[in-house]
């Protein structure tokens, strides 16, 4: 049961300046997209709008199946966006990983299990009880990735996920995305240069001059470390 996202006629303006005007964008189950574009092109803004964190000036974003209950102010639970420079909550590393799980209302035991799993994946087991603010930049990035991954999102937006990472971490992010795609999730990665993560993506989007153009459409490539 994958998630499908459809955006129509998205327009975003800041004052008089029109950042982009996108007629149609569709993301399907199992899609992997690489969004490229120069600094300031609007990649971050677009991804936040798609993830529901920002409002477009006009146009709409629809995610199916719509899992929103009537009175809740929650965003779509299957859609997660990860910041270019992630925000880490104060508290321990483990508490950060548990944040979203607690909101899902899982039992304590399940949360513990998933947290230790995520710690292992992010190679942060030793730091589990340390203050998350004391982590290094790359460790924070991994923590944030693990914090999003542990929620098993159906559609994950990664804004420059590899900018701060060492070789091993880049590889493990690539692995992660690979696994998620296999599980039927869709991933959109923004980045301006090619790297093992973007190479995984078989749809290549370019955001420039307010337009999104899709230029490459490779077959699904399985990456093996």
């Amino acid at each position: 049961m994958g998630v499908e996202l459809r955006a129509n006629n998205l327009i975003k303006r800041y004052g008089a300046r029109e950042l982009f005007n996108i007629e149609e964008l569709k993301v399907q189950e199992g899609d992997s997209l690489h969004l490229s574009g120069d600094n300031g092109a609007g990649k971050t803004t677009l991804m936040k709008i798609l993830a529901g964190l920002d409002k477009p000036c006009s146009g709409e974003v629809a995610v199916t199946p719509n899992m929103k209950s009537k009175w809740s102010t929650r965003l779509h639970p299957k859609v997660v966006y990860l910041h270019q420079t992630p925000y880490i909550f104060s508290g321990t590393v483990a508490a950060n990983l548990a944040y979203g799980l607690k909101l899902k209302g899982l039992a304590n035991k399940q949360i513990k299990e998933k947290v230790s799993h995520a710690l292992a994946w992010a190679r942060l087991e030793e730091l589990a009880d340390h203050s998350a603010h004391s982590l290094s930049g790359g460790e924070k990035q991994r923590l944030a990735l693990a914090r999003a991954w542990v929620l098993a999102p159906g559609l994950l937006f990664l804004d420059e996920p590899t900018a701060n990472l060492d070789q091993q971490s880049v590889t493990s992010v690539a692995d992660l995305i690979d696994k998620m795609l296999e599980g039927g999730a869709a991933v959109m990665v923004s980045s301006h240069q090619k790297n093992p993560v973007t190479e995984l993506c078989y749809r290549q989007l370019l955001l420039s001059e307010g337009q999104v153009t899709e230029f490459g459409h490779q077959r699904k490539v399985r990456h093996h470390a």
């Binding site: 964190l53 929650r74 925000y87 909550f89 104060s90 909101l103 899902k104 929620l151």
Partner: protein, 233 residues
């Protein structure tokens, strides 16, 4: 009769540590009134501070400026305004609130409120917008996201509550005006000091002053240590 500073100070310490009933009565009134006032003011003020920091609406800067201005209003002016409102000939005269503890609480809430709004506003301003977005995208509804942000800003928020408390517990003008300094009912530390000084009974004044000084020291040490912790993480 007190001859000099030393004797007066010794006498004041005796008063304090002999648990002089009248003295501790005054201290009790002070703390009860100010604690109730601060606990009434804190939550709504912090929510307003949050809204001002996070929600973009027309005229936001005006509201911020308004609260900043209110913070600078002298306590006696707040007292006078409330006096006119609560007086028998005023619009709320029928409530018979003037010269009661509830009136003092109202006054102190009015004094603490703008300070709490302004300080919590700047506390929230120092929190990154990404904190809100991260909470939301990880599945928090608006209400829980607010709680998350409050947790992130907890040191600064606690500092603003302590500052608010410090302001109202040492405030004399408003309490005197609308409390009336009635013995063992609306007489608190600052109004008692004002009275004792005007009577020339310095020992009790100094004893009460000492209580305020110790309190100020405690509050400031707590604040400083909280700030220290804030820097550690």
């Amino acid at each position: 009769m007190q001859e000099n500073l030393l004797e007066t100070s010794i006498l004041s310490l005796e008063l304090l540590f002999s648990f002089d009933a009248e003295l501790w009565d005054i201290i009790g009134v002070s703390f009860r009134v100010s604690m109730i006032a601060i606990s009434i003011a804190t939550l709504p003020a912090i929510l307003i501070g949050f809204a001002l920091a996070m929600v973009d609406f027309k005229g936001r800067w005006m509201v911020v400026a308004l609260f900043n201005a209110l913070m600078a209003v002298p306590t006696v002016v707040v007292g006078l305004t409330l006096y006119l409102l609560l007086s028998r000939s005023g619009p709320f005269g029928d409530l018979h609130l003037l010269f009661t503890q509830p009136a003092m609480i109202i006054g102190q809430v009015a004094l603490a409120f703008p300070l709490l709004v302004c300080m919590s506003h700047s506390a929230f301003q120092s929190i990154d917008k990404r904190a809100w977005e991260t909470a939301r995208t990880l599945g928090a509804n608006c209400c829980y996201a607010v709680i998350t942000i409050m947790k992130e800003a907890r040191f600064a928020l606690l500092a603003s509550v302590l500052a608010g408390f410090g302001r109202i517990i040492s405030e004399v003008g408003c309490s005197m005006m609308i409390g009336g300094n009635i013995m063992s009912y609306t007489r608190n530390i600052p109004t008692a000091i004002a009275l004792e000084t005007s009577k020339g009974m310095f020992a009790q004044g100094i004893a009460l002053g000492l209580v305020l000084l110790i309190l100020a020291l405690l509050l400031n040490f707590t604040l400083a240590s909280i700030r220290g912790k804030g820097q550690l993480v």
